[in-house]
């Protein structure tokens, strides 16, 4: 296979577009969910729920799952409150 390179030496770009919370966002290459949350400056990732292409992900899988071009990601913060402190239970603090 013959590889052709531009004379001016254009660098091979890895940037790709994903939709995050309704906005098209450029991310640097195929990154995992943890990195994606860092790039979009999500606070408190432990309290974030992520939906990738319609499927809600487990927090334990954030490091293992990478986003791809044109993926649709929605993330939201845990929403709760009350009159007393509750101990964390299950997947997310409650």
């Amino acid at each position: 296979m013959i590889k052709r390179f531009a004379i001016c030496g254009i660098k091979w770009r890895n940037d790709m577009n994903v939709t995050v919370n309704g906005k098209i966002t450029t991310v640097s290459g195929e990154i995992n969910i943890t990195k994606l949350l860092e790039e979009v400056k999500a606070q408190d990732p432990l309290y974030v729920t992520v939906q990738l292409n319609g499927t809600i992900l487990k927090t334990a899988d954030f490091e293992k799952i990478t986003v791809k071009e044109n993926d649709v990601v929605e993330f939201l913060y845990f929403m709760g409150g009350g009159n007393f402190l509750r101990e964390p239970c299950g997947e997310k603090p409650c």
């Binding site: 929403m79 709760g80 409150g81 009159n83 509750r86």
Partner: protein
């Protein structure tokens, strides 16, 4: 001068939130609200104006009179509806069946998104008090927001 937030709330949507609170009583009720965001000249700078046009009544999965949590599935479903209608998530609401309409320390602890408005409906002493707050979780403080009811 500090920028203020003004919420424009149609009475029918206020009634929807309060009815949801009554239906859940004595447990806490919860939900989301959405609409659009604009600005207006507040004299000392631009105020943020949030116009509420949709209320989503969700289930309190804690089923408790002193704590609430929302199901992620219901939240994502509401968000999908907002996207379809080109609305923006403006905040969440919940009820206090027997305590005043102000954020508790637990409400502050779990207020992760500083851009949202937090509406609290108190049903204490047989009254219906609806107030909105901006909560700064890291600073452990809250400030009241102006809530304007419109027909």
């Amino acid at each position: 001068m500090r920028r203020k937030t003004v919420l424009i709330l149609p009475e029918c949507l206020r009634d929807k939130m309060v009815s949801h609170a009554h239906a859940a009583y004595p447990k806490e009720a919860c939900g989301l609200f959405a609409g659009s965001i604009g600005t207006k000249d507040g004299g000392g700078g631009e105020d943020c104006v949030k116009i509420i046009s949709e209320v989503y009544c969700l289930n309190n999965i804690d089923e408790s009179s002193t704590h609430f949590s929302m199901s992620p599935e219901e939240q994502f479903s509401a968000i999908a509806d907002m996207r379809k209608k080109k609305l923006v998530l403006l905040g969440n609401f919940h009820s206090h069946p027997s305590t005043p309409s102000r954020p508790s320390s637990e409400d502050i602890r779990l207020a992760f998104d500083p851009d949202l408005s937090y509406i609290i409906i108190s049903l204490a002493d047989g009254k219906e008090v609806v107030k909105s707050f901006k909560i700064e979780k890291n600073a452990q403080r809250y400030t009241g927001e102006t809530l304007s009811l419109v027909r």
